[in-house]
Amino acid sequence: MKISAIITLKKDVLDPQGKVIHQTLDGMGFKDINEVRQGKYFEIDVEENDPKKAKGIVEDMCKKLLANLVIENYKIIETQ
């Protein structure tokens, strides 16, 4: 089944990409933005149909590779 992982930067970590996108959007006329933060998104199709187990596998992947826990948080959801 397909599981998604969303990886975001921790709150106090600088996000240069988000900042530039914020500025660009502002320049394009989107004036009412407080903040833009960029993260990563993964859709992982695993050979496991038990949602709990599948999520467990993906969580493991996040810890071991997909996220750098020094600066990033992860969230696991079922792919919609």
């Binding site: 970590v13 600088l14 240069p16 990409q17 750098n68 020094v70």
Partner: protein
């Protein structure tokens, strides 16, 4: 003196590093990322490039390769390790060095000469250098060094900041910071001072025709320090 340069899939400064090390007297071996064992070495270099295409996070996938177990053991037992550019990113990803390297502030790849100032000389890489300010070359997309306040205090207290971006006269100021890195940091050391990571490429400044020779000073001094 024996050195080893690791080639990861996507490394592209490995040959340049080989040329530079040999030019200054190292007996260098190229080591494949999928090997288990490091050859006997006095110095291990992780070269620049785009290991695994810089996909996911720069250096993240290279940090999981087979040879890195040996490199980590080598470093933990006091062996000298240098990571240049992508090599720096790999070292950070393995946890041998603190902090992270984020995208450059303006999201653009930067290739140019910069000035750097040596932060501390009490380490095997910079001790005995006569000059404090060098002209080095940078070429990277993600050299924006970042760490938490606590980490910063720790590395400052521990004299782990190896080099800073500065101007010709050595002024360390935000306007001479090419990529947005915290405190203008261009390179750092581990606590024990035997692992160095830096963004600039000394191997691209090793003869007069290459618009600068300050890289030569770095390598000459390094081999003398190891001897």
């Amino acid at each position: 003196m024996k050195s080893s340069v690791i080639t990861f899939p996507g490394s592209n400064c490995d040959r340049d590093m080989d040329v530079a090390l040999k030019k200054f007297g190292f007996k260098n071996k190229m080591v494949w990322h999928d090997d288990n064992e490091l050859p006997k070495s006095d110095l291990v270099v992780l070269p620049g490039g785009f290991s695994y295409g810089d996909y996911l996070r720069c250096g993240s996938m290279a940090s999981k390769s087979k040879i890195m177990h040996s490199v980590i053991n080598f470093a933990k037992s006091g062996g000298l390790v240098v990571g240049i550019c992508n090599g720096f990113q790999i070292l950070v990803e393995t946890g041998l060095l603190p902090g992270v390297l984020l995208r450059n502030k303006y999201l653009e790849f930067i290739c140019k000469n910069v000035f750097i100032k040596v932060g501390h000389k009490e380490n095997p890489f910079f001790k005995n250098l006569e000059k404090n300010i060098f002209e080095f070359h940078i070429a990277h997309n993600e050299g924006n060094f970042f760490c938490t306040k606590d980490q910063l205090k720790e590395i400052e207290d521990n004299k782990q900041i190896a080099i800073y971006y500065c101007d010709k006269e050595g002024h360390i100021d935000e306007q001479f910071n090419p990529n947005g890195s915290i405190k203008n940091i261009a390179g750092i050391l581990n606590k024990e001072k035997n692992v160095l990571g830096m963004m600039p490429h000394p191997e691209r400044m090793i003869d007069q025709s290459l618009s600068g020779e300050d890289g030569s000073l770095f390598f000459k001094n390094l081999i003398n320090n190891i001897k």
